[in-house]
Structure formats: structure tokens, C-alpha cells
């Protein structure tokens, strides 16, 4: 794996990153770069598609926020051939979501160069606006400095989003080019790594000098992952306890108003239109009456838990745990917590990990006669 370091002046990571992105954009092969950027006159950070190297001054991939999972944006850019190559700067969960979308034929990998940065985590959207609204751009630098020096990441009483605290994938393994922060002396250096042949080709055209990965990096990453995993497992246990009966599940989703924001925010919910807003669930008026007749009382809207169960059935095999669903919920239902708990088990059942590799077949897209014998019940034959 080709590895290089680039110098950082006075710990100013953002300037270094902007320069690095600029150098990528200036390559003949790359026509545009998709990168998170502060929008003018606000402190909102959004993905921007940049073709002019001079327009990278607001770039801020380290801001602890991602108002949407940019995999969806990359999917839009690559759904059909564009005739040009785009570098996209993404968080690990965005890369993994994009890999899922490619497998679902919602995007193409051929014309993108995936640039991933070690992820420091993010706040919930609303929280971030509360904190950063007053602090402007320097909030990012104080955040990453704290994050990289291992300080507790609470700002004005706001903690990192639970999805990020439970994320065991802070390293963008699937990137073509990785920008490493953990276990790196970020006051002076950044790590650049080419992780795929495509990444290596680009790496060669950049003016970089080869070096070794810092020896302390694996241990730092390992301890971070261990901490996150511990949080995650605790979350799994609590969530399972809170939802282990239909009654509890009903309570869990009691506030759901069928706004479907979670599915709109979900990067892997790729349907053009969710089945729940189609005529399939456009029940006959007399049907409601019939249901009510049978039970004496029914809660309205009727299809809330059904909707969530269906979404889990459809997409839990592809869930990357980015937490945008919880972000999007107007009534603060911990959607991510449940979705991840279920996903963890469904993905385990298929020995699948969403976003891990473009090569792994999607679960349920291949029929293996001998799989899940205890579930499908056809294992009582010789498997010849």
C-alpha cells in the first residue's frame, strides 16, 4: 500500500486539506471534486461540487456534522455515465453506503475516485447548529484538536451523535485514497494512502514521497474501535430490551407520525418512491371501519410499526449505521438504535457487512440451498 505524509503547518489541518484537494482537482484526469463546504453567510456545511480550484476555500471535511449522507449525492452524479471523473470526499459511512448503492445499481463506481478521511464523528444536525451557529469556522479546528488529542467531545452539553459513538468503522477502508488522522502527528503531518489500484494511479501523479505508516496508528485505531464497540454493544443490549415484544415495539414507535423522514434521509433506502406512500397502502375507507369493528379501537395512523418493520426487512442488510434516520426524526425516536441492532443480526446471519466490499453479493440476491437451514426448513435433505 502506497503511503505518504504531507506536511501540516501549525496543526492547521484544514488549509493542508484544501491544498491537497486543490492539487487533486488540478490533475488533468479529474474534472470536479465533491467536498463538504461551508455555505456562504451561514455556518451550514453541505456537499459541494467544485470545478474551480479557487472555490475550495470554504472546504471543511472535518466539521463535526454531515447534514445528509452524501452517498445519495454521489449516486445522483454517477447513475449514468458522466463522461468525466469526479473525486468525492466522503466519510467512511458515506463510502460504505455508496458501495451498497452501486450494488443496487443506483450508482457507478467507474467514474469516481473515493477520497476518505479518518472520521472523527459528528453531532446531530440540530445540535451542531446550536453549537456551531455562534462559533463560526473556528469551531471545526477546536473540535478536531480535541478529538485528536483524546479529549471529551462535549460542547455546551451536547455530545456526539449516538450513531458516531457506536461506529466501529472510523477508518475509510473502502476509499481509493485515504487521509489518515488517527495515530498521526497531526500537528505536523497528514497521512495519505493509496488503497486501490485506482488510488495508486492517482497517487503516482501527485507529487508525494513514499514513507511508512506511523507504527502507533494501528494501536490507536484499535483502542478507538474497542471503545466504540463497547458503546455499540451496550446500545444493542438496551435497544433489544426495549423492543423485545410487540407491545414494547409499539411503545418504541408510539411517537411515529408516518412522516417517512427516516427513509428519505436513509442513504440505502433507494426506492424512487416508498411503497408506503403508494396505492398499496391507500386502504379503502371501509377497510378502516372493518378493522375498527374487529378490535373496537385502532390507533391512527395504522401503518407505523408495519412501516418500520418493512423498512428493516428491506434495508437492514444494507444499513451502514450512519444515523441519518435518527437525525431526521421530528419526534426524536431512536430509529438508528433499533435499525442498527436489527441490521447487526441480519448482516451476521448472511455473513455480510454492508459496504465492506463491492465484490460481496447482496444478501437474498443469491440462492444457496444450504443456507439458514433452521429458518427456511429445507435442510432436512442431503445437500448434494
Amino acid at each position: 500500500m502506497k503511503t505518504a505524509k504531507i506536511n501540516v503547518n501549525d496543526g492547521d489541518l484544514l488549509t493542508t486539506l484544501r491544498d491537497f484537494f486543490r492539487s487533486i482537482l488540478q490533475l488533468e484526469d479529474i474534472s470536479a471534486i465533491l467536498v463538504p463546504q461551508h455555505l456562504p453567510a451561514t455556518n451550514v456545511v453541505m456537499p459541494t461540487l467544485v470545478t474551480d480550484p479557487e472555490q475550495l476555500n470554504g472546504t471543511d471535511p472535518l466539521a463535526p456534522v454531515f447534514p445528509l449522507n452524501a452517498a445519495k449525492i454521489v449516486s445522483r452524479l454517477t447513475r449514468k455515465p458522466m463522461g468525466a471523473k469526479v473525486a468525492v470526499v466522503l466519510r467512511p459511512c458515506e463510502i460504505r453506503a455508496f458501495v451498497e448503492l452501486v450494488k443496487l445499481k443506483q450508482g457507478r463506481i467507474e467514474e469516481v475516485l473515493l477520497v476518505g478521511i479518518d472520521c472523527l464523528g459528528a453531532f446531530k444536525n440540530g445540535d451542531y447548529i446550536q453549537i456551531a451557529g455562534k462559533k463560526e469556522a473556528e469551531f471545526t479546528s477546536s473540535f478536531y484538536k480535541d478529538a485528536l488529542s483524546g479529549k471529551k467531545l462535549t460542547f455546551e452539553g451536547f455530545d456526539l451523535a449516538p450513531a458516531c459513538k457506536a461506529c466501529e468503522n472510523p477508518i475509510p477502508d473502502g476509499a481509493d485514497i485515504l487521509i489518515g488522522l488517527f495515530g498521526v502527528d497531526t500537528n505536523n503531518q497528514l497521512l495519505i494512502q493509496a488503497r486501490t489500484p485506482k488510488g495508486e494511479t492517482l497517487y503516482e501523479t501527485l507529487d508525494l514521497s513514499d514513507t511508512e505508516e506511523p507504527p502507533e496508528r494501528p494501536a490507536v485505531v484499535e483502542s478507538l474501535v474497542a471503545e466504540r464497540t463497547a458503546y455499540r454493544d451496550k446500545m444493542f443490549a438496551e435497544t433489544a430490551e426495549a423492543t423485545n415484544s410487540l407491545e414494547k415495539l409499539n411503545i418504541y414507535f408510539a411517537e411515529c407520525v408516518n412522516c417517512y423522514n427516516c427513509r428519505v434521509a436513509c442513504p440505502v433506502c433507494y426506492c424512487k418512491e416508498c411503497v408506503f406512500v403508494t396505492d398499496v397502502f391507500n386502504h379503502d375507507p371501509v377497510q378502516y371501519l372493518r378493522w375498527a369493528n374487529r378490535k373496537g379501537v385502532i390507533k391512527m395512523p395504522t401503518d407505523t410499526v408495519f412501516y418500520h418493520l418493512t423498512r428493516m426487512a428491506h434495508m437492514s442488510t444494507s444499513c451502514v449505521g450512519c444515523g441519518q434516520c435518527t437525525n431526521a426524526c421530528p419526534n426524536d425516536i431512536p430509529v438508528m438504535e433499533l435499525f442498527r441492532t436489527v441490521s447487526y443480526h441480519t448482516q451476521n446471519a448472511f455473513e455480510y457487512e454492508a459496504g465492506r466490499s463491492i465484490e460481496d453479493d447482496l444478501p437474498l440476491s443469491v440462492f444457496r440451498e444450504d443456507e439458514l437451514a433452521e429458518v427456511v426448513g429445507i435442510g432436512n435433505h442431503c445437500n448434494l
Binding site: 445499481k105 403508494t278 374487529r294
Partner: protein, 1149 residues
Amino acid sequence: MKKKIGKALVVGAGISGIRAALDLAEFGYGVTLVDRSPHIGGVLSQLDYQFPTDRCGMCKMLPMVDRDTSSQYCLRKGLFHENIEIRLSTELVSVEGEPGNFQVSLRQAPNLVDPARCIGCGECVKVCPVEVLDSFNAGLSGRKAIYLPVPHAIPNAYIIDTNACSRCGECEAICPTGAIKLLEEVRKDFRILVVDDELIMRDSLKAWLEDEGFAVDMAASGPEALNHLSKQAYELMLADIKMPGMDGVELLQKAKEVFPDLSVVMMTAYATVETAVEAMKIGALDYLLKPFDPDTLIPMIIRTYQDLEASKEPPMEVGALVLCGGTSYFDPAEGKNTYGYGLYPNVVTSLEFERILSGTGPNQGRLVRLSDGKPLRKVAWLQCVGSRDIKIDADYCSSICCMHAIKEALVAKERAGGALEAAIFYMDMRTFGKSFQRYRDRAETEHDVRFEKGRVHSILYDENSGDLMVRHVDYSGTYREEIFDMVVLSVGQRPALGTTALAEMVEMPLNQWGFGQTEPFSLTRIHKEGIVLGGSFSGLKDISESVIQASAAALSASRAIHAGGGSLTPEPTPEAPLFDISQEPPKVMIAVCTCGDLLSKLLDTQRLVRNLKVDPAVDQVDFLEQTCTVTGWENLIERVEKHTPNRILIGSCLPDVYAKKIRELGRRVGLNPVLIEVVDLMLMARVSNLKSETLSADEISKINSDVLAILGTGLARLKWADPDPVSYEKILQQALVVGGGIAGMSSALAIADHGFQVDLIEQEEMLGGNLNWLQRTLDGNTTKSILDETLLKVEKHPLIRVHTHSRVRASHGQVGRFYTTVEAKEKDAFTLKHGVTILAAGGVEAVTTSYNYGTSEAIVTQKELEKKIHANTIDPSRLESIVMIQCVDSRQEPRNYCSRICCTTALKHALNFKEINPEINVYILYRDMMTYGFTESYYTKARKAGVIFIRYDLAEKPRVTPMDGSVRVTAVEPIIRQKVQIDADLVVLATGIVPRLPKDLAESYGATVDRDGFFEAAESKWRPVDSLKEGIFACGLAHSPRNITESIATAEAAAQRALRILSHERMPAGKVVAEVRHSLCSLCERCIEACPYGARRVDLELEKVLVSPAMCQGCGSCATVCPNSASTLAGFLDQQMFDVIDSALEGTA
């Protein structure tokens, strides 16, 4: 629409009979399918599992194109096809006439239970006092005289075993629907006059016959008899010959003058054949010899009765007959019975063991001994019981037992969770079919099935433990004993019962063992045109081969019908215009059959009507009596015509039997049949105790809720039913055959003979393939005759265009329309349009470098030897010693399959050498001699002729060393465990067959090849010549290794499968087909991956996923993988299913 007239009779409704019937029916002929047993499925109704999948899959034989003509569910349960009339318990009585125009008479055993009325409640069984052995479970369990012939049929009507029935009348009394009519009523109409001067004779005859339900009168003399005849009509007269005064012959004469239609059977105490023959000349039906006892007399009278009843029906006109009579099995109790079958309780036949494995068997599938309940832990299979045995005149191999035994061993092991030891004692493991060798290898290496070479000489039974000691001499000559819990005898096949009589009737020659004898190079044709054999009737075939042969038989039959002018006659069927109701809201009429007084007593009709009418779609609820009867049905039609609903829901029983009636009803009232639905109200009769005398109020209320729920589900389905008529796709009625060998030519001819254009592509300069060098077959037929004959027909045929020196460059399309670009030598490429494709690309002898091939001229292949013999470059009289080595590079990875022809080729050459020069030493080094079927006799012949057979193992292969002037072969002789050394003049290597089916050729048509490069069938057993993608078929060596005759059979089968499609100008889609709602589709293409039939593709320009309705089989996989129901299945819409589930829950709330 062209409607074929033309009809075929298929005798025998086993697997091959069903295949042949379906093939002919799909082509468009009417088919009458008869079986003498009361169920379809033949022996397969008793076999639950088939290798290599170790499960069933019979349903895969159902039509895939125009599939709504047939029911689409478990074929073991039943077959319903528009063009097939099934007559069970029926035998063929006589055949007259010419090919294309036969008159046949059938005899149907009287059915004492009306299947249309029997609801299968089983009350009759509870009261029946007679218990007999159940033949379905191979006699391993008991049943009553009234019983279900198979546990799984639909409709599963009870029948009465008339031989066992005591006619006590209990069942008739308890039957809730009045379905049972015991003999008496029917037979009372059949009056018999007994004429004898001896009172005791008259009296006993009268008593016996009246016991059988006949009406009997007596007369003591001829004049008295004539007096009776003048007063009363009689069907049958039994007349004694020797009577004082007017004797029997005179009476016969006189009676016949006045009543020419009277049937007379003579009786005589003296076996004077002359008198009897004389009597028969003047019109007696038969004669009986005195003294007689009721056991012989009664069946004879009943047969006469049945024949007379049958003859009242006019004979049936058919164009061709397909005889699929199946086989019977060797009874191991016959002869010396050294294995103690029938004496030792734990010695069973392979068929009995099949029932022991079955969930519907005597143990409900638990693997325990029937005798003492001991779990089976150690089981032995003994092969070749009743086969390959000259002493009992069975010098043939039954072909199927080896694989059958391995399968049973594997299923038993799997059932026992591995805790079962299985040993198979065999002589040669005949794993000659595609994939068989690998199946065997896996059984041995992965599942620890033990293969013991050697014949078991006897079994000892331990009365205390019930265990069995198998005593045998192993291959090294050591005597061994081993204890088993159970011993399974792999019994060989025998000609089917009644084969001789049938053979006489249709002038079918039999071979020396009594199996049907076919013409050279045909597995199906006998010398008499229009009468063909299918399946194992001509001997010894597994399912796959039976199915292939059945399709081939269907083809031969079809040719005869076609030649007789029975097809292509346009007969416009006026299709009544359907009412366009697409703009109307649903207006449902619900008709509830009250089933006599069964339901009317229980139903709370007011509550039902009230609940059903909550739904505004319900227009009318009617309660009718017995819609299964003609009156009931007419009554229903009357109501429909009165109320003019646009959807009809019928609540009755046995919905599957209504399929045909529904189509008729639809036509009559102008409704698309999808708008008529039948739900099974009797479903609950089978689960709840409807007949119980005292039902509580709660129980009655539950029954009413159930009825409401069942009707509700039907209503839900109907409301959402799409009234649009099905779509059609046009078919290019032309075929393309790739490969001009004997298989390709045969299939081309078969198709062209039915009036369709065929393009035949051959890459070589001339047609003929391997027959250009092959000279003759093992049974002495020269191949030149068949080659010349076929070439001439192909070249002269006006509908066949031959393209030699040509090859397929590319192809696209789907069933009904393919476009193939062909490139030819010295010619421009051209494109052919065709509706079906047959891949007959052939195969060649494999090349080898083993055994020092290529280093000496004295080491040749079997093909080279054949050529040398023909070219006279070899002189057997000057050779002293020849070694043939079998299985060169075969039956081991990577070419781990048997090529089938090498053993017989070796025998052919060995016998030829021995014939010319008896002094010559011929050694055949083999692993297992694959002389399956009747070729076994040549193996015997070769041994008698002095050919020396030496078995070798893969671990110790022979070694071949070229010497000066000879070749030295060393091998280990396993019997003496010694190295033998042979200095041979000639070493002949059997290298086997490799296919010549290029992967890209197959793939350009959407077909696939297996790991050995042969065509991959949609299903090796049930659809052996079809590709999974409809419209592509394969035959000949590209399909699998096989001899000429077998190759031609595959060619005919492939042609028949293709003709089913070509015979239609346009192809209707099924009712249940998938559709795409494009506005919702995200183009993720998961549905395309999920579609097993290749019916979907994405059109990148339109940005749409498209479905071919004709190829779609309505399996619903696409709708299942689609997350947002952009892919839907007509007839199974989400809304509809939600509604159905909701209604079904109605009763439980």
C-alpha cells in the same frame, strides 16, 4: 386460431405417460390418458425422493408456454389439462384400424364412489369393517376396503376395492354426500339367465351371482330358457351344453336368432374344446369348464359384465397410441430365495424401503424396523436381485437399481442424522448417466456409504434379535459375515403385467425377456406405424431416460397423426366476445353450494349474507344445492344470467376440478375466467368434525365464521382481479438446428415433417457427424443404412435448408423470436429468424496422452480401431493378443463422468475379433462394466467367447510400455492379487466422449453448459432436453454421452418439445404474470437477477425493466425481491393479498 383435430391414446399414466400426454396436448392434440390403476403417477406416486436432488420435482414437467391450459401445482397430486382426458381404473380392450385412424375400446372398472361428490371426509373409512394390506405402502401397512389409492391426489376421492368389499353397506349409509353407490343398484340392471338341468348347479350359481348384486333368473331347460327370454330382456345367459332335449348349442342358436345382441357363455363339464369352439363360432362369448368355484367364476363373469358395459360405449377414434405400460418388479420370493424374502421380516425390497422412508409410509418416515420398532442403524443393499442372472433368465441389467440404492442409502443416512451405516453389495456400479459418477463418489467420500464389491450368497436370520447376517465372499476371495438391522434387495425389473396380451392385441413384437421390441435405431417405434412405446415399457429406464423417450414417443405418435391428416386443419373456434367490464366497479355474485343438506342445516345464512354484504362489491348472495351436479350447475348459470354480475364467487368443494367448468361458464356468460373463483368450503370439513351428531352452538358459530372467512378470501381475490384479457406474443414458426449429425438431422426432419421450416447449420463440409466414421453397432446394425436414409430425407425435404460450412456467430432474442447471424465459408453472413433453437452441436472422442498414447502405432483409440477395421489395415487373424483399457481419463476428475458407449464399443470389437479369430486373446481392463439394459447379454456373450475381463482400481491403474514389436501391459489382477503382464500386439484405449458445444454458442442463446461442457438441462430428470430458458433445446452428444439410438431419441424429444411451441401462431401469456410499474422502478435490477426464467431485461435506452409475458412463469420471485412493489404479479397484488389475509383472519378475530 388454428385448432388441431387429431387425438392420441396414451396407455399408462406413469411418468412417461404423463410426459407423452402433455407433449401431445401442448402440441394441440386431444389426448386420452388411461391407467389401469386408480391413480396417476405410476410407481413415482410411491417414490418421494429422486436423485440427484433427493427430492421430487415432477411439477417441472408442467407446460411453461400457454401454461394456463393446465393446472399449475403438484403433479403428483393431479393433472388437469384442457386437452387431456384422464380415465383411471381403465384398460385397453381392443385396437382396430390403421395408423391415423384407430378404433379403440376401453374398459373402465365400475366406480362405486362418485368422485364428483366425494368430499374426502373419510367417514366411510371409519365404518368399513374390512381390513386388507395396503398396496400403496407395498403391503407394509393396512387399509380398509374403501380407501384412498394414494394419500396425496387432488381431488382425492375414495374408491372401493371390490375384491375386498363385503358389501355391508355401512359406508353407503354414512356418506354425507351420497357419493357411494354400492354395486347392487347398478348391477341389478344387469340380468343374467342361468340355464342348467341340474338344480344344485342353478342354485349355487344364482346364489353366487346374487351376492355380487346381479339380478338372476333360472331355467331348467332350453325351452324354458327361451320362454324367459321372450318375456324379459337379459344381458347375459349362462347355458349348460349338455342338457336333455334341447342342448346348449341348440339353445344358443335359437336364442341368437331372436336376440342377436344377447351375450352367451357356455358351461360344460366335459372339456370338449371342439364343442366349445363350435359354440363360439356361432356366437358364444366364452365357455366355462365345470366344476368351477366362485373364485374363478365370479371374476370371469364380472369381466364379461364390464366388457359388455364397455362395449355399450362406441369405440374411440384415435390417430395414434402411445404405450407407456411401465414395468413390474422381480419378486424375490420366487425361486430359491436365498435371501429369505418374505420369510425374514427385515428383508425388504427397494420399493418397500422407499415406503419406509416416506412420510406417508407405514412408519410416517421414522427409520425403524416394522417388525420390532428397532431404530435402523445398519442397512445393507444387495444389488442385482433378479437382474444379471442367467439362472433365472434375466441376462440383462435393470439399469436403475444402482442409482436407486445409492439414493436410498443417502436419504436414509440423512434421515438418521448420519447415525446409519450403509453398505451396498454390488457387482458393477452402473453410474452411466450424466452426473451419476459424481453422485456415487460423493456418497462414498462425503457420506461414507460403503461400496462392497461381490455378490452376497445368503442371509441368516437371528430370530431373537431380528438381525440379519449377510454372508458373502469379497473380491479377494475371503469369506465374510456381517450383521445388519435390515437388508434391502434392489429388485430388478420385469415386463409389466399384461404385456403379452397387449402385445398380441397391437401386434407388438417382444424381445426374449418379454419387453417390447422396437425397431433398430428407435427406442419408440415398432414395425406397426402409429403405435409407439414410451418409458420403461420397452425395458429398464430411469426417470430422465423415460421422460426423453416419452417425448420421443409423443413425436412418433404425432407424426402418425399428422401423416393421417389429423393436424393443421384449421377449425376456427368462435371465441365469444367477453364483456368489457374494465370500467365497471366490481359486482360480485356469491353462490354457496350447500352440499345437499350438509351445510344448509348448519349455515346461519342471514348472518352470512349480512356480513358479506358489508362490502359494497357484493351484489348477490345465493345458496344453491349441489353445484357439482348437472342440475346444480345449470341452476347456477341461470342465476348468473339473471343477475349479470361481473365477477362470480363459488363456494363449494374441490376448486381444482372446476377449472374446466369455469372456462366453459366464462365463455357462456361472456366473462373472463379470471373473474370467476371457486373456494373450498369443504376445507373445514376435513379439519373439523362437520358430521358430528351433536354440534354445540359454539361449534356451529365457528363453522359459520370459517365459511365467512373462506368466502371473504375468495371475494378479496376477485375484487382485485384484473379483467383485461391476457396478452399474446407472435411466434416465428420456424426452427434452427445447430449441428448436422444424426441428432441434428433427426430433429430437423421431425420438425419439418410437421410442416415447419427448418434451417440446419453444420460447420463441416458434409452432414453426418460421427456416423461418417462409425460402421456398425453392438447389435449388428450397420450405421450406413440409417445415415444414408436420413441424409436422403434431409436433402430432399422441401422445408429443410441445409447450411454446411457455416457457424453461428451471434444470436439474440427469446422464445418465439430469435435472430441468429450465421457466418459461412465463402459467403456473406446472413441472419435467420426462428422461434426455437435446437443445439445438436455433437461431441467427439476425447484426446489423451495417458498410457503412452502417441508413442507407438500399436496403441490406438477405439475410434482409430473402428477406422482401421473398416479400412482393413488391421488383420485380426494375424493378431495374438489385444488389450483394451476402459475409462481412460474418464470417471475421474476433471472428466468425472461415464461416456456410456465405451464398454459396449469394446465388447463390439472384442466379439468381432473373437468371431474372426477364436484363438486371439482379448483382455478388457475395466473399472465397472457399464453394460446397462439389454447390452448385458453381450457382456455374458463375450465372457463365454473367452474374452478376459480384468478389473482395475484408480489407485492401481494398468501400465503400458511400448516394447520392440509389441506393447507390454501390466495390471494387478484383483481376484488373485497378483501382477499380470501381457505382451499385446495392440492396445486399445477407450477415451470417452467430450462435447463440442462451445460455451459462447450456448450462452448466446441464454443456455448454459455444465462443468464438463455438456448442455445443462433445466432439470436433469423432468426437463432433460430443455434449457431453463424456454425455446432452447439440446440433443445428441452435446446433450450427454449416448449411443446412436439414444441420441436419436433425444433428437426426437427435443423436436417434440420444440413443436409444442411452433404449433402455435401466437403464444398467450399466463394469467399470473409479472408486470413493472415503471414510475416506481428504481432500476436496481434485482428482479432481473431473481428471475429464473430469463424473462426480464433492462432496456437502457428506455430506462425501463421489461418483462416477456410469454416467458414469465408467474413464480413471483421478482415481486418478492422488489422492495417497493414496482414489480408486481397479476393475480397477487399487494392490496389483494393484504385483503385476502385480512379476510382469512376474520374467522379468528
